[in-house]
């Protein structure tokens, strides 16, 4: 299993769910697809039309930013915790 924690900014897409568990999937792209199947529309908020992580969205695997790993193709393992957060933009 992996645990996915979502920013409150996405609560409109998740009916208020901010944390969930799902069966382990191979990578972040698969995880986003699975999230979208459960919460239709959320996928396109997180990734663009070509399934690339949006510029101002950060996905952390445990404490590592996926943009420092293999981005949407970052591998996932059983027990991982994934955080989906908006980047700090501006300021």
């Amino acid at each position: 299993m992996i645990r996915v924690k979502l920013t409150a900014q996405l609560k409109d897409w998740t009916n208020g769910v901010s944390s969930l568990e799902m069966d382990t999937v191979p990578d972040l792209q698969s995880m986003v697809r699975k999230l979208d199947a459960r919460f239709p529309g959320i996928g396109q908020r997180i990734v663009d039309d070509q399934e690339k992580i949006r510029t101002h969205v950060n996905i952390f695997v445990n404490s590592e930013n996926s943009k420092d790993l293999q981005r949407e193709m970052t591998k996932l393992r059983d027990g991982d915790t994934v955080h989906i957060l908006p980047s700090v933009a501006g300021g």
Binding site: W13, P40, G41, D48, D49, H56
Partner: protein, 362 residues
């Protein structure tokens, strides 16, 4: 004649959300509601009279662009779960939705969206699910299309009840394209449009159209504000004629046609490409009563010092009698005229930067 009881609804899209202004029947006082869709760039809005639905193009800097719909005149909104999206493998991703255009009365449920990078999308269910226009996506010249200053954007969609299969679109800096078969095929309509920033001065495509406008009673007459001039076509874009004449500048962005007088056309000229500020430091609308032979300045009520930027979608005419005219600035001022631009009144100040102004009778 004025539709309905004369009340107008102004839909004002701003950098920070949507505002709705509703007038009394005389268009003398305005009631503000909003902002809704707070914090979201609301790039364009439209009212679909067929379904009594307000539509908005909204974009979050984090979560991307989508379409929102309201069934209660902007009080509450529902965001599309399936907004315009390019197919996988195209290499394209929707960056912004520039224009929302409800279809003609006979096309129940049809709504068009013009997006960046330039392409047209169509919805057949009132704006929930969207399909890319394959003919435009796969157009043989697409790889040669170049962006204007605002990006490679399809910013204008023109439809006519009297020409139900025709779609006219404008792309910066590609030019005008027309389909006569509901978007199955497209042809460029840029004859005699100057492109003096190109090696070829009159190319088939690569002109910089800024805005198109028509009066629905004369659907074959198209007015155009271009980067390089002001033009009209009387054959739906097959040929264009320069109608700048005594206008003080060839450059500007917004364009609108009077609802009742099809030869009365409104523009907002700017000094020129490299400064893009109002002439003499005072924003003014210019109008022609005779299809472009002569132009006159309409600035009564506009501050003498008004370095306003009015974006291409931020000036619009209503369906009233006499025609009302509205513009909003990126400094948050909203102006209205209920007499064809002859006298202006500021009806709001201090709004977020205004990106678009749309209007519908209430």
């Amino acid at each position: 004649m004025t539709k309905g009881d004369g009340r107008q609804v102004l839909m004002v899209g701003t950098r920070k959300g949507a505002f709705v202004f509703t007038s009394d029947s005389g268009r003398r006082s305005w009631k503000l509601s909003g902002p809704e869709l707070k914090g979201n760039e609301t790039y364009h809005m439209a009212y679909d009279r067929r379904s009594r639905t307000m539509l908005a193009s909204v974009s979050s800097s984090h979560w991307g662009p989508t379409i929102a719909k309201s069934k209660d005149m902007g009080k509450s909104w529902k965001v599309s779960r399936t907004p315009p999206k390019f197919p996988k493998g195209s290499g394209l991703s929707v960056a912004r939705i520039w224009q929302i255009k409800p279809g003609t009365d006979d096309d129940e449920g049809v709504v068009y969206a013009g997006v960046e990078p330039a392409c047209l999308f169509r919805s057949d269910d009132g704006g929930e699910k969207w399909t890319v226009n394959e003919a435009m996506l796969n157009h043989k010249t697409r790889k040669k299309w170049q962006p204007g200053g605002g990006g490679l954007c399809l910013h204008t969609v023109v439809l006519s009840e009297r020409r139900p299969k025709r779609i006219l679109i404008a792309i910066s800096a590609v030019g005008v394209m027309r389909s006569d078969d509901n978007g199955e095929t497209w042809s460029f309509k840029n004859k005699r449009l100057l492109a003096d920033f190109q090696p070829e001065k009159y190319p088939e495509f690569g002109t910089c159209v800024h805005k198109l406008a028509i009066n629905q009673s004369k659907p074959d007459t198209i007015f155009q504000q271009n980067h390089t001039g002001v033009y009209r076509s009387d054959d739906a874009g097959d040929d264009w004629k320069d109608i700048r004449n005594n206008l003080p500048s060839r450059f500007g962005f917004p364009a609108a046609v009077d609802a009742n007088e099809p030869e009365r056309f409104y523009l907002a000229p700017l000094e020129g490409d490299f400064s893009r500020i109002p002439l003499g430091g005072q924003f003014a609308v210019w109008a022609t009563d005779n299809g472009g032979k002569e132009w006159s300045k309409l600035d009564s009520g506009i501050p003498k010092t008004s370095y306003f930027t009015v974006l291409r979608d931020a000036m619009v005419t209503d369906q009233g009698e006499p025609c009302g005219l509205y513009f909003g600035s990126t400094t948050g001022q909203l102006f209205a005229s209920r007499d064809q631009g002859n006298k202006w009144e500021r009806i709001a100040d201090g709004l977020p930067p205004i990106l678009s102004v749309s209007v519908s009778s209430a």
